[in-house]
Symmetry: C3
Subunit: 653 residues, 3 copies
């Protein structure tokens, strides 16, 4: 395998140009391969309307090139300058509460605004025309972190007009819309597309079909917005890779759609920030145990997800280098973790990892965000750990990445649907996927995510496929499920709606009679404490339970303590009739893996493994040594028999 | 007694008309007596302004009549169509935050809007003229669930103008208003009614007298709004009963005022939804114990309350048929409860119970709300339990309802007053009443609610009257209290204000010297954990305690552990100087019942009894059998000696 | 020492004038020296624009003078009348959410509004011209409780325009502003001052430098607003003292700046209200233990703080007289506390204490707020306890107040900075100071607060100086720190920013190389439960920890259990590398006091001591007797050997 690349995010415009040469020298000496520059720099690039200033960037690119540092350039469209916003104030994103979200930080725009799109095309063209073929430039990043700061779903009049157009395209006739949404309910009929309103300020909840289309529209606006830049870059910077930097747990747009436009999906990995912020995923004991290491699965989850979104090529383009500034609490990493996170990304197949940022800024919003260098240019902890990584990527013979053993279907529409209609206060789609993923990962199983669209053609590649909470089952997917021999674990709530967000005519799951294992007659959401134990098994259904009528050809494998079907199998389809708590999830998946011939280990809470052919990477988030002998008779390729905390090993199984 | 009636809420316009005949057949075969139709149907009735389409309703009514199904028709005014809202956008209700609440769900109107009232009169006239004398039509429901979704207290400019008019009528001169409100405080004087503002966006709290009048105004607007429809229906549909469907725990308007306009008070009873939603009334253990049965007192409370609001005639017009969609969690009922809830309503004197809804809708906001039929027309659990009820109402000889033993005064003004000025974070009037009610009901005591106005003439009908938290005591009520021999339990906080929301000139309680048992010199609200134990008694004052100076002719019955009066009696008036925790409340009421000659039982947490003359109904919400022998030597009329969970019995005492 | 003065807040305009003479007689007989009148009376003083009505006030002043009662007059500017607001609606303060805060309570104005300032000058002139030299008038209070109800930081267009002017004055060129704020970050550059926006509705957090200047601007507006009135009063009422009544824990403006304008800082002391409201300062057990006495340190903290703000002269101008109306719960004081609070204020050097209010109002917002008299004119508990105080101030020979032993630096800019950039969810500057103060006070140490500006010249007066969390260190203060021999305890987070809110060029703390004990390389905020124990000591760092590199000349006194510097000393400067929990704080300060030769006692949770030369006052908030013998061999001047709960003693040490 080509060795992984190491980089840093660099903002030369924040520093005196007299520092630039020495920066390049230090980068080279540290072993960095590339830097990412230009992000957020619109104000420097175009200080007044039309007055383009790119000479500083030229100077920086030339200097970097001279030192052998390659460059990923960014379009600066996440931070439109003040004069631009003042020229079209209706470009601002508007909150769910109806208030415009003003200039003064970043992402202050609505994706649907045509005027702003034109401005983005113009500035992208300017930069790409100048540097598209610069020898230092190896790639481009569009904008920054779509979805961050909750601007994807914007509620301005601009958005409303664009939504009406989008609906007219989708439904062609307003009667079709009224039928699809069931607007006869509560007299919500519209007489024309121009009557359609935003769903955000209604007296009680708006129609879920209305919301669902608004979420689809919002996602499509991101996709349209991104495509505009991609098209320009393809034309003006041939042969360079294009990426966009995704964030963790952002579900507001379909990352498969954006990922399909670019060459490389990249993401911004902040393990400690995410652990402290995403508190609903972890209890306090877990958060404290991993406070300085990060959750052992959050990174892997996104590594595996974003490996899928662009068809295999992916990067970590921002990697946490120390304490950050945006989590509720910003904790210092345990020694070794800053490097281990990069190695873990490589283990999951990343082509590159780039630390954010080269040097800590002493001013403005992120002054408390660490860098490889401190504000005074002295090296921070991350500088040394990045050096260790630079050495490792040169000394290790990296095994070729390979396909995972189990596929999990990631369905962005389900994320939207179940946030629109949770039906129970604890039903969160991301958490459902995440708990499934974690359960498999504790067994040492390598997981791939695939989209519902991809699933149609790829089920046969996996020994097992899991699709909890799928929103709606397309005919193509249903056909593939009927054709494949791959065991599939469905439920809870999978395929429970039509594409219009209605209950299917024959009730859920909306599968052909020829394969449907059962019919869901009704469901219940379970208040905390009201669990449904499973007969003869550890663990219970929590949050959600389904009452079902199994098909005559199906077998009830497990049942609840109150005597109802809990796990029902018909041929290769197994339906799980509730949300399994961790103990039950583990029980179900161990059994499913066993049936599927997938080897499982007991890695516990803090050690993870990713396979690469007959090799496996071992990553230790835990606070104690991990004895590789627990994996059986393995050949140690990198590392010693005991993998220390923050340690890494490669074995041949 | 005439046998109770059983019905369902039916929305023919949601289904293909080819289903209507078979619907009617199934209803008849199930034993339904009636359906409610037309609710929310404005969009179908008048798809364009002035284009009235009622033929579908004619067809439906004729079909139902043909099958012996009677009909309650609804005015569709809870869901004004889009074209109507667009023609007068200022009709929208406005939130406390000053934002209009837009089209897209329901109840998107302000009660005070004259233009919208005219439209409601017009559509009501259209429907009533067409069907007012249709032989199937036995009654009418106005609008739907006034008070739901918090639109009663609206803050638009329309509301402000109407409020100024209302104030001008009430006070005649602005000086009178300034005096009544005490506006000299903080320089809040107004020079004319046109200067009066809304109370919602002030820097710190607005004047409580200002708020109190705004709450009275808001309630009056509902009453005016309803009267308009009632007047039309009386004229165009003579001899039919009129009702409105109240909700549980809605306190935003005076239900006695609306109830007085209609023939029948009805309400929408969702035991499991309410239990999970109204969490401040129950601790977690209680919620879990009754998660599938409902709180044993919440339904009875409202049965007894709404029996009072229209002078005795009342219905449950929407009865939960399975999991609903609007509570934080939506749990499936325990087997038998869907039927038992109906029987319990009949035990409390309901003339009719109607399940909501006939068939679960597969689309729009309530697609997760169960019905008697599933979306695919297959029968749900509720279908069979409704059938059991249909049989029971035909086979049981229902004892004639009778007056309760104890009266509790329900004072809507107190609900407004103590939410405006709680003075302690835990002072909630509904909870105060509810805890009092529960305490009596655990003793097997039958309770009636009466309004402060009714109390004046009805105190003698009861063996005991309880009036905690009464806002202001009218001269008529004070006179009645002085005349009656019925023991009355007052306090905490009873009669502590004048009608203008001022402290009475002689301090609280504001009663004539001839009967006042004590003077409240000052009060304190108690933070959680700061309890005031009662000497020699179980339990404590919590939340609230009053410091008092007993009248010379009064006796201090009980005192606090710190030596102050806790329970003070003068003649038939007993004043309770604090909020009693459940143990103390039980102690006080057991003693009061004993003194009043009221027999008490120990029914525990889950069993309830309602008397009807010398008969009594036994309703078992608990998870274990109830042995009727615990009631002493009773004759079992319906049921066996052990009443099972979800079971029902009738005994003669 | 002159004996302390006792007063009450009096609102004659709330009562029938026939009561005024008898009020004055009762005040005289009770032993009151003065009353405060005129607050909030604008509506009575000027019922219509320009129609001035002050005869009632003349009558009241004359009557009071006749009975020997002196008067502090108030400007009524906290409650502009309706006609005034209607004449300039843009004077309303605007909330952070962008909504104007309307008429109907009080403080409905923005400090920056020039039109309202002119109106305030006019009404102040009217009143001062009429009564400036009235013989009863001994002083003036400007407005009421600046900062209360969160109107200091207002976000109207008026405020924005004033802010732009303020910035232009401060920076002179917009390039200077862009540099100071680091606006190159995220393309936030402004091309002119007229482009600057408010920081409140941005997509994600605004630039901290932007916020910091907005906070400084907001504070300056209060200072300008107050100066206008002070200048008029100085001119028209020569020889009278001017004060403003501060509140507890209000940090929105720099009280040293306002304090410098007036003669006397006064504050409004509501011990029980504050205890229940400021819950983040106390755990529940503590709140319950002192629910009826008040927190033993909250009053002393503010006594000591406001003694500093006007250079020594200070009053309690509103003293809680019983249950109030505005805390979450409003509890009745323990017998004796109403008097003890006054005596405690005198012990800390107050010239006067004034109970709020003379007679409880039966109407409007504060009808549940106790007074010395009840609404019916009967004496409340406070009446008798005030009488005891009146007797005590005449019978006790009050020792002369003296300088404290330890100085704590109170830095309002730090309060703003760390609320703008807490960096950890638990970093609250007030709490940091308060915990430091409490720790010293439990040792019986007398504390003075000084401002960073004052510190420059006053360090030598103290045996020890503590400055946790100082925002930015001025050259003057740094110079003084280098010159003094007084031991200084710095950190956490002290001097960690430049005045522009940037990280200092040589990192924190921003001190001259000649004295800096260490360099902070980076910091971390600690989630609850992630503590950092100190080697060989009780207690831990919590909330916040700093990683440091000690100077070669410094000694690491203590270190963390993970082997890093915890307490580092160089000469007289000791740096504390984290937020100490109470046990550790106590350990550090006991050690610091010991080194500084300050005698410490163990007064425990509920007893406090304030020195006055060789005398000391003992105040007992606890529920049990305090044995004076625990102080060693002291001479009891006032009181007995056992100080009872709510008791007071004076001893000579």
């Amino acid at each position: 395998m080509t060795r992984p690349q190491l980089g840093a995010c660099y903002f030369p415009e924040h520093w005196d140009s007299s520092d630039w040469r020495s920066d390049a020298e230090m980068m080279r000496d540290l072993g960095l391969d590339f830097v990412r520059i230009g992000e957020f720099a619109w104000g420097v690039i175009e200080p007044e309307p039309g007055q383009i200033n790119l000479d500083w960037m030229q100077q920086s690119l030339d200097l970097l090139y001279e030192h052998g540092i390659k460059v990923v350039l960014c379009t600066p469209t996440a931070t439109p300058p003040k004069w631009l916003v003042d020229s079209m104030p209706d470009m601002l994103a508007t909150g769910r509460d109806g208030r415009p979200r003003t200039f003064g930080s970043r992402r202050h725009y609505s994706f649907s605004h045509q005027g702003y799109r034109r401005e983005c095309a113009r500035i992208t063209t300017e930069i790409a025309r100048r540097f598209g073929t610069h020898p230092a430039v190896i790639g481009w990043q569009t904008d920054n972190e779509y979805g961050c700061h909750d601007t994807t779903i914007s509620f301005s009049q601009t958005d409303l007009l664009a939504f009406r157009d989008w609906l007219a395209q989708r439904y062609q006739s307003v009667d079709a819309l009224n039928r699809a949404w069931g607007n006869t309910f509560w007299s919500m009929q519209y007489a024309s597309f121009d009557e359609v309103e935003l769903p955000n300020l209604t007296v009680t909840e708006a129609n879920p079909s209305h919301w669902m289309d608004y979420r689809r529209f919002a996602s499509d606006m991101v996709v349209e917005f991104n495509r505009l830049q991609v098209d320009i870059l393809r034309r003006l910077s041939p042969g360079r890779d294009i990426t966009h930097n995704f964030m963790g747990r952002i579900l507001d747009f379909d990352h498969f759609d954006v990922g399909a436009q670019v060459d490389i999906s990249s993401w911004d990995s902040y393990p400690l920030g995410f652990l402290d912020q995403e508190r609903d995923l972890h209890d306090q004991a877990h958060r404290l145990a991993f406070a300085r290491a990060g959750d052992p699965d959050f990174q892997g989850f996104h590594h595996d997800l974003y490996r899928a979104t662009s068809g295999g090529r992916w990067w970590v383009i921002e990697q946490q280098p120390g304490p950050v500034n945006w989590a509720p609490n910003n904790i210092a990493p345990r020694k070794g973790m800053i490097g281990l996170w990069a190695l873990e990304a490589f283990a999951h197949g990343a082509e590159a990892v780039s630390y954010f940022r080269w040097r800590q800024a002493p001013f403005a919003q992120e002054q408390m965000h660490a860098g490889l260098l401190r504000p005074d240019r002295s090296p921070a902890e991350a500088f040394f750990e990045a050096g260790d990584v630079a050495e490792a990527i040169r000394s290790i013979d990296w095994p070729q990445a390979s396909c995972g053993q189990v596929a999990i279907i990631m369905d962005y529409e389900a994320a939207w649907a179940w946030s629109i209609q949770p039906q129970g206060e604890d039903f969160d789609y991301f958490r459902l996927l995440f708990e499934t993923y974690r359960s498999l990962r504790k067994f040492g199983v390598s997981v791939d995510f695939i989209s519902p669209d991809q699933a149609g053609s790829r089920l046969d590649e996996y020994a097992l496929c899991v699709m909890p909470g799928l929103f709606s089952c397309s005919p193509e997917l249903a056909h593939a499920m009927a054709q494949t021999k791959t065991p599939i674990l469905l439920g809870p709530r999978s395929a429970s709606k039509t594409g219009e967000f209605q209950i299917p005519a024959s009730l859920a799951p909306d599968l052909p009679d020829a394969i449907r294992p059962l019919t869901v007659t009704h469901v219940e959401s379970l208040v905390t404490g009201l669990d449904v134990p499973i007969e003869g098994r550890s663990g219970s259904f929590v949050h959600w339970r389904e009452f079902t009528s199994p098909h005559a050809d199906a077998d009830v494998l497990w049942q609840t303590a109150d005597g109802l079907p809990a796990l029902v199998r018909r041929d290769n389809l197994t339906y799980q009739c509730g949300w399994a708590d961790p103990a039950l999830m583990s029980d179900i998946l161990r059994s499913a893996c066993c049936d599927a011939g997938i080897q499982t280990f007991d890695l516990g809470d803090g050690v993870r493994m990713r396979r690469a052919g007959d090799h496996a990477f071992i990553i230790n988030y835990a606070g104690t040594d991990f004895d590789l002998a627990l994996l059986g008779d393995v050949h140690i390729v990198v590392g010693g028999p005991a993998v220390p905390p923050s340690g890494f090993a490669i074995v041949r199984l």
